[in-house]
Symmetry: D2
Subunit: 450 residues, 4 copies
């Protein structure tokens, strides 16, 4: 399936580790003391296979991910470390939890007390912005996990100004940087790390992957995703009530998911109020004998109400028609929710059928929510493992959870592709079973003859 | 590590499957149609290993679990099926979600419309109780997932009356039974299945494992567990406020966890308000130079408040001293929370130090909560997969989630051992880092010389 | 102050009450048995006055409202009653609670078992719609209070077809109608009642006032209002996080309030995250030396973020400029939130200042929420008191809460004027203190010389 | 009814007000500027009366309460003011909101920047405790309203050490003290104020009444009460699920309410899950033909489950039997919840009937909750009005809300009696209608012949 070979998964490191960790643990089983993790502990990435009666072929034993955790020997002398953390891109539940976990692990476990928060994403490194860095300590982060957002503020942009960021890191004498952000942020972090290497600077760059859409490869579940689904469920529930309790009510909810429909798919599974779940991976038509409109009309005839949940990147063919571009030359897309609302209205007006359509866009309420306990637990472990990786001298590495294990994933590997909902797989299958929507709403259905 | 051999994981089945499934899916990749699952699709159970520089030893390719999901051919003719479902033991978030998913999948996907709910657990099978079975359909279960509890009611006991249960199943002409319950329930289900086999009856018995303590082997996370942690966090948060905002406040919270401290461990990780997390797996003393009291006293001297989170099965040595037994001869244990409250009070009274201790037992509020979205999604998929297994003729099998895949686990294997918090592993390590409590509070510490 | 004379407040009734109530209560104090209410029990409406040193002028003892509650003698014979209930207009938290309270009080307290729910508002009375009435009983309404919306569905319109509604009431042989709805609904109910009077029919028409905006006169707090504020607070909190945690963030939230800004005012008081609260009662300019823009710019310069909360009817001068009219000839107004978002963007673009504006419209999530406990209590008492009024033969009367007492208010009086936020009074004063916004953002400020 | 005469309600003040308020407002209506309040603005306290056909007797125009709010002239020069605030007794939702409102109003409205928080209640005044006062400013209180508890910590006791408190106030040169607490706290505050008067010190003592039980006279609703009911509803809902979903389940919930059953009564009204609501004001028997047991047994026979909600002070006859006294000589009462649980168990064991009783005590989770929006609004206005009263030179005065108006109530009057649920009034009547419990469960029923 995957053409990445075994060596791809090896984790870059700054150099030989010689310093004993200040964390006292054990290297043996059975002594009832927590154990260090060593670099030879791995977990298998691909764990699915087909095992026939006669043959027994399956798992590629080369696809091994290194387990995260505290090492017995570390690379950095805690006394000399200056650690920095930056949060980039849009808000996502759990950012404060990650910041807090990083600060607390640095401070309490390793005695690292020089910790700087860079404000407003990578732009905080750029001198002309005048964004002052914050000094961080356990007192400052004491209670921040109860809030959404990020105390470091977050912003897009700046990640392409690699040299200036490297300059700032060098000037501030930073020894390790925790970069919390998405795909673009991690690509930026990788380039900065390479620039620092060129400058012969031994600086650890550790990525903490953030994507509310849950579309990172090599990551079982991104932090904030569970909270996002929890919040999205509330909007769907409201849409259901609005749709159900009037004449031919249609509730329409838009959630995040520019390229991958994970939030929409999970939200649809959570409550079964959704009748049509529209995601980028499954294209659909509006008109025609198998389009959304005709199915929607049937649903209203049957049950008098309907709920549509649409991911922001779904129906690209419907929104890209504007032909406009934004300043950077990217196509500027219309809001799919507004398009659907307008088109549905027009359709039923022409049809002479009264419908009452209520459109809810809960995106900002989702993004800014405080992490729920599940994400909170996850973030607190993610942050601690990021610190263990950095002090051990790992670099150009993401901290990730795979098959319920915290692991190290080389940035180069992780940013190579995006994860999508497999529309032939079990998640989407279960969504279809729940919504009872057609397997496809394209007019040419891709069902092969049976 | 494990001495179970490959054949242990093979899933019992009633016979050859000849009937085409009424669910239309695909057997090929790339056609954008959801795929059937076939029995040869497996996932690896043990995925952790140590890979040295020279050697490359690790994963036992025999430990394979069969993937759950809809099969192309099924065993039962849906027209003739009488399906039954029973919920046993104490309440747990998600029971109604599971019931609903089972009913909806039977009805909508397979066209099975004869569905019976057995009331009050196994006791609903016993004629003398007079508990009438309920007829179930999608209408009845339409909205039940928004409520905690179980519409079938639940009760302990009756599981040992194997012959009478088999009699009832035979008399009611049940073709498949979904048994939702814990360890004991699944043992009972296995015995009933074996009794039915002896009677040459082709009846599928599918277990849906329920344990709010999350202590089942072969199950990554039991349903309701995440909700339980979410609710427990609220109690800890209250205890923290009560402790923090008075003179030498001590907040004491008891959560479920008779033999395994998973709820306590996760709850402690979620908010970092917990200073002492006490679980069955990590014995502790009260008195002595390394006992809880002295550490608690130090904490109060330092910070003026403390929060203790105790799993109900922790400190067994402290509660078993009563020497009483209940009617069945089991040792009746005092409530560990009450014991701790009393002993702490006594200790500080003797010490002449004013403390204000507030004890919260949120157990019933946790058990009866409605499933949160995460558990709701899980239960809806668990129930559907249980139905797919039953109609395919699987039996004596649990539906489980392992490494984020739904799988079939033979009951015999699953009930063979209980899962515990590994106090040398990463979860407990992260708890210790968060609470900053001593690695052990036994007076003889098990730390080896280094 | 008020020119309505004492006789205005007298409550219309159908006739003499001769039937003893089936509810057994007491007419005497001191026997520890709950008391009947008699028609002579009143509460004073205007309770504020100015009492100088020498004079003692104040309260008009003629403005007396009749207390609601069960009467010793009733008008209708419960055996022959056919009660009906209808919910009109947009959704509002608490509708199901009111329905439930009415049904339960009719059934359990008076033994009235013929209860009909009219569907989709007044349109449910019109034969051509084909909306079937629902039979209601305690079983059906058992658990509906946990849900938002209304099991009777709600719709606008139909209220002006007075004769047809009266025909339907006559045809269905309805003896009492509970009309739950706003200003328009109550005007419609009054006209229907008058039409029924002309037909010499003794039918009680009782209004239960519904206005999520809380803008009914003679009603201390309308049901659903507290829940609405509770939900609005969540949106403001999200807007605050989004605004605070980025560069020059502006959070903009729109809430209901077409003519009265009560929701906005209360929401602003609840959390103090709001910096500019804009309501219909206090006109404002955008441009100019005292306009919103300049104040917003100053706020951003000071604090780098701002939260604006706008009631939908605020800034009428800004939205009415479109000049369009809808089909019924009403001016169609642009959405004030969208207007503000666009204008603010334009202003700062022209200014060359980067701002990040996030607009949240939580209206449907607010309207469809389930009643919180406070509203739930209120609705359950409101519904019961409506029933007591109807069986006692009151008609053309609203049930209301004034100064924490449930009272009868003649419809004629209640619909005569709308309630507004008094911008010289204590509520708005406290809002201004909380937001610390200018007393006025009109360029000609109405401050007199001092 | 009441024998307090008109002069009772006059509000004590320190002296003549000469300083113009720094708050710019208006004294005229119609200028669209918020108005000052002057001392002659009053509201009527008793507003209920009986108005017969011939006579027209009713309202005592002497019972007038002074309206709270900012005065045009003030007593204290803000530059010289040292304000202090103290929170006493058990936790109650809203304490932080009150603290925050006081600090913000002092600082932002009056420019008073010397503000001290006394820690741990009155004990913070006593030198031997060593509890350091906190300096307060808007930064410190910025976000505290999102948390339960009190940043000043709270404790019982110390209130009787009047002279030492007065010494401390004198020594610290405090000009105004805001005392947040219950009955005892306000009595203490009054004595301290009198002691300060004897010392000829012009110090304003303003009380902010705190009683989670809502049992203060002259206060429509105490802060935190609505939040308390909201939290109590959750426990009742859990008890209902536990009771409903098993064999003869009995859910038992205890809530606060030592002498007054307001929390229990309101909670019972909120959800209708309660079948027996037991409050101090309505004595009941367990045994006998009209006792709780026989009614409970009937309920179980009918419906198989029951929910009992008991206020902590109910059934005093059942708990006072222990005969023990605590150190101060007060009778130490058993926990009524535990007593009921034990007695009910015994009753049904003797009876040979299986029951499953689940007892929930949510008290600490209720007390420590963060204020909900309704209470949050209330507290923010209460705190601001307390400041307006103090700077105007009022003293020995409570800030209260009566008939939805903020008013001044002389401490002497307010502490003179406690408020109880009137078991012949409308609140308790509505509870009885909702629970459908017997009007009395005493064996000698007080029903007069009819």
């Amino acid at each position: 399936m995957s053409d990445t070979s075994a060596k791809d998964y090896s984790v870059p490191a700054l150099g030989k580790r010689k310093i004993p960790s200040p964390i006292i643990m054990s290297t043996e089983d059975g002594d009832m003391v927590a154990n260090y993790v060593n670099d030879e502990e791995k977990i298998l990435y691909h764990i699915e296979g087909v095992v026939g009666e006669h043959q027994q072929v399956c798992f590629d034993p080369h696809e091994l991910l290194e387990k995260a955790g505290p090492r017995e020997k570390i690379y950095f002398n805690p006394k000399h470390v200056h650690a920095a953390i930056v949060t980039c891109g849009g808000l996502c539940p759990g950012l404060n939890n990650v910041i807090r976990a990083v600060v607390r692990c640095l401070w309490y476990r390793y005695g690292i007390t020089r910790i700087t928060g860079i404000q407003n994403g990578y732009r905080g490194f750029l001198p002309e912005t005048g964004f002052e860095p914050l000094e961080l300590d356990p007192e400052i982060v004491d209670d921040i996990q109860t809030k959404g957002g990020t105390i470091l503020k977050s912003a897009r942009g700046g990640g392409n100004r690699v040299e200036e960021i490297a300059d700032a890191i060098e000037r501030m004498n930073i020894s390790m940087l925790f970069a919390v952000g998405g795909d673009g942020t991690q690509r930026g972090a990788l380039e900065v790390a390479e620039e620092l290497e060129r400058r012969k600077l031994n600086i650890s760059i550790i990525g903490i992957p953030k994507t509310i859409d849950n579309d990172f490869s090599f990551i079982q579940r991104s932090f904030g995703f569970d909270t996002a689904v929890t919040e999205a469920v509330k909007a769907v529930s409201a849409a259901h009530t609005e749709a159900h309790d009037t004449i031919n009510g249609i509730g329409l909810v838009k959630v995040m998911g520019r390229e991958s429909g994970f939030i929409a798919a999970h939200t649809a599974l959570a409550m079964s109020d959704v009748n049509f779940c529209l995601i980028p991976e499954s294209p659909f038509d509006l008109d025609g004998g198998n389009g959304l409109f005709i199915h929607l009309k049937r649903r209203l005839a049957d049950r008098n109400h309907a709920v549509i949940l649409v991911a922001e990147g779904a129906g690209e063919n419907l929104t890209s028609e504007t032909g406009k571009t934004d300043l950077s030359g990217n196509k500027s897309l219309e809001d799919i929710g507004s398009v659907l609302k307008r088109r549905i209205k027009e359709y039923f007006e022409k049809d002479g059928m009264e419908v009452n359509i209520k459109y809810i866009d809960p995106s900002y309420m989702i993004r800014s929510a405080a992490a729920n306990p599940n994400d909170s637990i996850y973030c607190s472990r993610l942050g601690a493992n990021a610190v263990h990786a950095a002090v051990a001298g790992k670099t150009k590495t993401l901290i990730s959870m795979v098959h319920d294990n915290f692991v190290h994933v080389p940035m180069r590997v992780a940013v190579s592709k995006r994860r999508h909902v497999d529309i032939e797989g079990s998640l989407w299958r279960d969504v279809l079973e729940n919504t009872r929507q057609p397997m496809s709403m394209k007019n040419q259905v891709y069902i092969k003859d049976k």
